[in-house]
């Protein structure tokens, strides 16, 4: 095992898959040698693989995804980077109407082996247009797979799987996760889609958390432990497919659930997870289901305001207390 950052884990996945398969290439704004990605995930890649396979694009999100779709249906395996998740708004037609639907709509004649990588999340004071978590939209777009790793291990393993998958994969990253460190094997590995991870076992309550919130949930669980509350923390890791079995199994065991996702509350990822539990495990529940999320506001710039709205360890603890 070795310690790497989430950023480097992603980068390793890119390097390995590009070495493994000539049809894999990268395109996006400033992913090339002059900037190496806004968050440096593509650092050094243009040097290794050349500018043909690590392509800087103009600021044209819709064409980035459109071109990736066109390349994907003609034998290539593009990885498109959208610099900030908020900017996927400019490419929604290409993502949702084209990439996601082509396989079905054309009766299976084509598949779209495309990965769209983009960072979501707040916490770095860059305000309403650069801080959203919009994963929920992409769950509501049949034909897409949606991946949301929280650790370096999963980041690498899931990205490799995503690149090899023949479907369009919407791959969510998080700005604050890039620098966090974790252990990964020396040898190569992959992580399958659709399999949740029990991050921490517990008996009294299940905290289902995604991305950055997994770490906040673990911190919350550690604190709750001291109060005598044993919390299980579950990380779905992929949102489509969603490992509903793991979720339901854990909730049946504990009888309580808090769902923690950073996106704003209404119609967010948490709504879907809560709905699944309410449909499949209601008889096992000893308390109301509860969501922890950003309230329904844009993300404010001012640091104390931003801190106020983003969910964290403390808001999770508070939520757990209301139902235990």
């Amino acid at each position: 095992m070795k310690e790497v950052t989430y950023r480097d884990a992603l980068r390793e996945a890119l390097v390995e898959e590009m070495q493994r398969d000539e049809s894999v290439f990268i395109l996006g704004e400033d992913v090339g040698r002059y900037w190496e990605g806004a968050f440096k995930v593509t650092k050094g890649l243009a040097e290794i693989f050349g500018e043909e396979r690590v392509r800087d694009t103009p600021i044209s999100e819709s064409a980035i995804i459109g071109a990736a779709v066109g390349a994907a249906i003609t034998g290539m395996r593009p990885i498109a980077e959208i610099m900030f998740g908020d900017l996927t708004t400019l490419a929604m037609d290409q993502i949702v109407n084209q990439a996601a639907k082509i396989h079905y709509m054309f009766g299976g004649q084509a598949s779209v082996p495309l990965v769209i990588r983009t960072p979501f999340g707040g916490g770095v004071n860059i305000a309403a247009h650069h801080s959203q978590s919009l994963e929920a939209w992409f769950m509501h777009a049949p034909g897409l797979l949606v991946v949301a790793p929280s650790t370096p291990y999963d980041a690498k393993g899931l990205l490799k799987t995503a690149i090899r998958d023949d479907n369009p994969v919407f791959f969510c990253e998080h700005k604050l996760l890039y620098p966090i460190k974790g252990a990964i094997p020396e040898e190569t590995y992959t992580v399958p889609l659709g399999s949740a991870r029990v991050v921490r076992e517990g008996a009294d309550i299940t905290i289902i958390a995604t991305m950055l919130m997994v770490h906040e949930a673990v911190n919350a669980a550690d604190a709750l432990e001291k109060e005598g509350v044993s919390a299980e923390v579950l990380d779905p890791r992929t949102l489509i497919p969603l490992d509903t079995d793991a979720i339901v199994t854990s909730v049946k065991k504990t009888g309580r659930a808090v769902v923690v996702c950073e996106g704003c509350k209404t119609a967010g990822v948490g709504a879907e997870i809560v709905a699944v539990i309410a449909e499949e495990a209601i008889d096992y529940l000893d308390a109301p289901l509860t969501r922890v999320a950003t309230p329904d506001t844009p993300i404010p710039f001012s640091p104390p305001l931003e801190k106020e709205v983003l969910p964290n360890r403390d808001t999770i603890i508070k939520a757990v207390r209301t139902i235990t």
């Binding site: 290439f25 043909e52 396979r53 392509r55 694009t57 103009p58 044209s60 819709s62 064409a63 995804i65 459109g66 071109a67 990736a68 779709v69 066109g70 390349a71 994907a72 249906i73 003609t74 034998g75 290539m76 593009p78 037609d93 290409q94 109407n97 084209q98 082509i102 396989h103 079905y104 709509m105 054309f106 009766g107 299976g108 004649q109 084509a110 598949s111 779209v112 082996p113 049949p142 034909g143 797979l145 090899r164 998958d165 023949d166 479907n167």
Partner: protein, 326 residues
């Protein structure tokens, strides 16, 4: 008429192809009236010279990206009439097993990468097909069809610019039929020739009479050659005109009678017929062709009408590609 040197046999071929599209579209119109076609349809009749003039330079492994008005593109690129018609009727034997319909036909076996019903959305996709060609190092080209209305979409700007800077082998074919639904071109843009927009991307732009199959043939020849040699994309504007309304239910009252009359006189098939007669093809031969075409469309229609609807279980299948690479 352009290109006097074109071999008459070749012109005959082009003519027959155009005629197939015309008769096919008339048949679709007819059976739509009999309530046999679900949904809506956007007929290509009147614009045949564009698809045929362009596609006669494309090989089976060249790509084509199509639109809501795409039947003609399919046929010109070599798709079978019967499976095309079956798709339009939503039948099991349709190219997309009935899941796509008129606005989403594709035939990947002939490089026909499918129609999108989102106006302009095909443009960056064609750019991507061009990028794929470049990365794989083949000599293919991609032809992208879209309308005058589509040229006001952001995707036109982004998609063509990207193809331009990367010098991709893409032909952007603007089928300027003067209207986007009820909106005249002049209401939607100031430039008279959409080809002028090519300058914004530093690529060649050319505007031709899209009802003259030989003109379309000629300019495409040049553009395809340039593309295959690594010279990058071309924007070709073909001025043309629909024979019918925008969609099946549209009486197209917004088009002045004079304008309609003039364009109908300038019909691409009438033109090629006249040219063929001038070049000494006999009326009998033309009649022969007509009969052959009619029969082909009859057969295709019968096939499509007889094809069953897909099993309802199919609705749930094929959302995701199952094959995962190890």
């Amino acid at each position: 008429m352009g290109n006097p040197h074109l071999d008459p046999d070749r012109l005959l071929e082009l003519h027959e192809k155009m005629l197939i599209i015309r008769v096919f579209e008339e048949r679709v119109f007819e059976i739509y009236g009999q309530n046999l076609v679900p949904g809506t349809i956007h007929l290509y009749a009147g614009e045949e010279a564009v698809a045929v003039g362009v596609c006669s330079h494309l090989h089976d492994d060249d790509y084509l990206v199509s639109t809501h008005r795409g039947h003609g593109h399919c046929i010109a690129k070599g798709a079978r009439l019967d499976r095309t018609m079956a798709e339009i009727l939503g039948k099991k034997d349709g190219y997309c097993k009935g899941k796509g319909g008129s606005m989403h036909i594709a035939d990947f076996s002939k490089g026909m990468l499918g129609a999108t019903a989102v106006v302009g959305a095909g443009i960056p996709i064609a750019t991507g097909a061009g990028l794929s060609i470049k990365l794989r190092g083949t000599k293919q080209v991609a032809a992208c069809f879209f309308g005058d209305g589509a040229s006001n979409q952001g995707t036109f700007h982004e998609g063509i610019n990207l193809a331009a800077i990367w010098r991709l082998p893409v032909l952007f074919i603007c089928e300027n039929n003067l209207y986007a639904m009820g909106t005249r071109q002049s209401q939607a843009m100031i430039v008279a020739d959409i080809a002028e927009r090519a300058h914004a991307y530093g690529i060649p732009g050319v505007s031709v009479n899209g009802n003259d199959v030989l003109e379309v043939y000629r300019v495409t020849e040049e553009a395809v050659a340039r593309a295959r040699e690594g010279g990058g994309p071309t924007l070709i504007e073909c001025k043309t005109y629909r024979r019918m309304g925008h969609s099946r239910m549209d009486p197209a009252h917004y088009r002045p009678k004079d304008e309609v009359d003039e364009w109908f006189r300038n019909d691409p098939i009438r033109r090629s017929e006249k040219e063929l007669l001038r070049r000494g093809i006999s009326s009998a031969e033309l009649a022969n062709i007509k009969a052959r075409v009619s029969k082909a469309v009859d057969d295709a229609t019968e096939f499509a009408l007889n094809s069953p609807f897909p099993n309802v279980k199919e609705a749930y299948e094929g959302v995701y590609a199952r094959k995962e690479r190890e």
